[in-house]
Symmetry: C2
Subunit: 105 residues, 2 copies
DNA sequence: TATAAAGACAACCATTTGGTTGTGCAAATA
DNA sequence: TATTTGCACAACCAAATGGTTGTCTTTATA
């Protein structure tokens, strides 16, 4: 097992998806992110670290606060993969349709 | 920690993404899936089990073979979430744009 | 200035994950 | 019929994951 730290793994955890959703509406510091998340601040900080490591969050210091900002461009990798798989999947049915159409003649 | 078995977790593993990609081009049995995957057949079978448990694969017996077929409708959940997050994220910039435009006057 | 708040860092822990090997059985094939 | 093939089931294992608590430093605030 190699340590994978990519976008797919980043969004695999429900807590991290909530964090991303919240940050997509505007920057927040770590305490604010964890406010209604029933989890220690340290646990939140760990999730933030993972998201930062795979480029989905950028931080900037503001006094004693660490303000987190979402960087959602990375999510394209996910949509691209999903789209590609669905495309191939749909082509199968189209091929089948064409085959069925050709046998009808 | 609760056992999560959803689409997001299903596609988090690179091997499972390869399996889904291959199956999106047509049904295969477990041996065929594992053919160029440098991993024991049992490991493949475990991945198949996970994909089946979250509805991304359906099986049908054919003699002694277990033929796997992709069910990619589930992937909508992923695209939906990504789209929603990106939408909110884009709205932030639009709001900023409007604000900047209004101060320019 | 004394205290509270934000968060970094480390140690620890249980569970999950992703793999392995071995055994056994049913179906296909020589 | 004897052998091979496809795969299920179980036991096992190391590493990763997702959480905890405690200590410490720095920055705000009463």
């Amino acid at each position: 097992m190699i340590e994978r730290r990519d976008v797919f793994q980043a969004i695999a955890d429900p807590t991290r998806r909530i964090i991303i959703s919240r940050l997509s509406q505007g920057p927040l510091n770590i305490t604010q992110i964890g406010e209604d998340l029933d989890m220690s601040k340290q646990a939140i900080a760990k999730h933030i670290k993972i998201l930062r490591e795979c480029g989905m969050i950028v931080m900037n210091q503001k006094g004693r606060e660490q303000v987190c900002e979402a960087q959602l461009a990375q999510l394209d990798e996910v949509t691209d993969w999903v789209m590609q798989s669905r495309k191939l999947w749909n082509q199968r049915f189209e091929k089948l349709d064409r085959f069925l159409a050709s046998t009808k003649k």
